[in-house]
């Protein structure tokens, strides 16, 4: 792709948005977005598709010492592991474990389009942060485009049991500490 067309403008990835301090969400970054990504000084990227990201993206991460967490790639290739299926409890928990450790920040959560899988994990994070469900849903839907949200994702967010997630309180990022302290 011809980067020159954009002049000296920087281009965030599709569906990019800051979630909290040093926590970002987006769709899969392309080489067009690499100059922008570099401004975020990312330490870790949580990749939520069960397909591998593009080679150029892997190379970029490698080159910049960014760890990629493949939270949704099932090592045993289970039967129900299709790209169009949503995340399961295990992959949500795996992603959240990374999100709840401040050593991984600055951090980017992404999947192919940054809509449903990313939305699921961010939705569950909001639940941990004690957000009311309507606000979690509203945020999820904001990123789903004109075809709207998926009920199954919202049910996952609603059904998510925040007590099932174990974390080390000392390693929590500040924004979560602020919202769960009694």
């Amino acid at each position: 792709m011809n980067i020159l067309i954009t002049g000296n403008k920087i281009i965030p990835p599709i569906n990019f948005c800051p979630v909290e301090h040093q926590l970002y969400r987006s769709g899969q970054p392309s080489p067009l977005n690499f100059p922008f990504l570099s401004t975020l000084n990312l330490k870790c990227i949580v990749w939520l598709s069960n397909e591998d990201p593009e080679d150029s993206f892997l190379e970029y991460c490698d080159l910049n010492n960014i760890t990629i967490q493949f939270s949704a790639i099932n090592p045993d290739f289970g039967e129900d592991d299709n790209p169009w299926d949503g995340l399961n409890e295990k992959s949500i928990a795996s992603a959240l474990n990374t999100l709840l450790d401040k050593r991984n920040y600055p951090l980017l959560v992404c999947c192919g389009m940054g809509r449903h899988r990313t939305g699921t994990v961010i939705g569950c994070l909001r639940r941990i942060m004690n957000w009311n469900l309507a606000s979690c849903s509203e945020e999820y839907r904001r990123f789903t485009g004109s075809r709207g949200g998926r009920i199954l994702v919202e049910l996952l967010i609603e059904g998510f049991n925040k007590n099932s997630i174990q974390y080390n309180e000392e390693l929590l990022p500040d924004f979560i500490k602020n919202s769960i302290k009694k």
């Binding site: 954009t6 000296n8 403008k9 920087i10 281009i11 965030p12 599709i14 569906n15 990019f16 948005c17 800051p18 979630v19 909290e20 301090h21 040093q22 970002y24 401004t39 975020l40 600055p106 942060m129 004690n130 957000w131 009311n132 606000s135 509203e138 945020e139 904001r142 990123f143 004109s146 924004f175 602020n178 919202s179 302290k181 009694k182």
Partner: protein
């Protein structure tokens, strides 16, 4: 009757009156109660005005069908209909809600960059979120309306400073957000002394979206991605005029101002 109709059309074309005032004028000139009654009369007697009216109705985002709709708010007819703020909705919420340790962020809430946040009009139940989670120091409202008393009291109680910088909605033709107005807002927003700051209008779609778009320009984002973000928050009511305003906004002056004070570049 002929003369006053002519005047109305002229006023509309010059931008002296809004679409709504135009329709109201026609209704009273022809002494009818609704567009339903007005349209056949115009179609029969004055096809020129009929065409203008049809165009006006096409431009309106929502149908204005009867006199009741047109009478609701004399004073605020420049206000965006879809952005209406309902004071009754903002009654102090049940204290039970607040004691649950559940956070209620306002609608369309998001982090913009650094210590800058955006949202729709806050409600009283959002205060604990503002204080405990965001630790807000100031709020910038982009409207000129009176601010609800109960919120003012809460801000005072929680040491949140309220700035006002009224900008016009980019809805009617002929109304443009001036660069100077945007600069004024940005001087407040970019000033680290005011951080953490929340920017809001009514729905957090149009005015807030326009200002956030201008912030993105200072970050040197490509316009395509700025518009994409604007539309995500304005969905399903994105306005072409807002996006034009972002594009036409000349950021040189505020850039100079902010660079001198080392407010730029903005940090995530």
């Amino acid at each position: 009757m002929e003369q006053s109709t002519q005047d109305l059309c002229l006023d509309l074309r010059c931008g002296n009156i809004t679409n709504k005032q135009f329709i109201k004028g026609l209704l009273s000139t022809y002494n009818v109660k609704s567009l339903h009654d007005l349209k056949p009369i115009l179609e029969r007697d004055n096809s020129e005005v009929y065409t203008i009216l049809e165009n006006v109705l096409l431009q309106s985002e929502e149908p204005v069908l009867n006199n009741e709709d047109l009478q609701d708010d004399e004073v605020n007819c420049d206000e965006d209909l879809d952005d209406k703020y309902n004071a009754a909705e903002h009654k102090l919420r049940n204290l039970d809600i607040l004691s649950q340790n559940v956070f209620y962020p306002p609608e369309n809430f998001a982090h913009v960059i650094g210590n800058i946040y955006r949202s729709s009009f806050p409600r009283t139940e959002n205060i604990s979120f503002f204080k405990q989670h965001l630790k807000l120091k100031s709020i910038l409202v982009l409207l000129s309306d009176d601010y609800p008393e109960e919120l003012l009291n809460l801000y005072k109680k929680h040491d949140i400073k309220l700035f006002t910088c009224a900008i016009q909605g980019n809805k009617e033709p002929f109304i443009n957000i001036q660069d100077e107005t945007v600069n004024k807002a940005l001087r407040i927003i970019l000033n680290p002394e005011n951080h953490p700051i929340l920017i809001h209008c009514n729905k957090g779609k149009h005015r807030t979206g326009t200002i956030v778009g201008c912030i993105r320009k200072l970050q040197n984002w490509s316009l395509t991605m700025i518009f994409d973000e604007y539309r995500r928050f304005a969905f399903p009511k994105a306005r072409g005029l807002d996006q034009q305003c972002i594009e036409m906004f000349n950021s040189n002056e505020i850039e100079q101002y902010a660079l001198q004070r080392k407010w730029l570049p903005l940090n995530w």
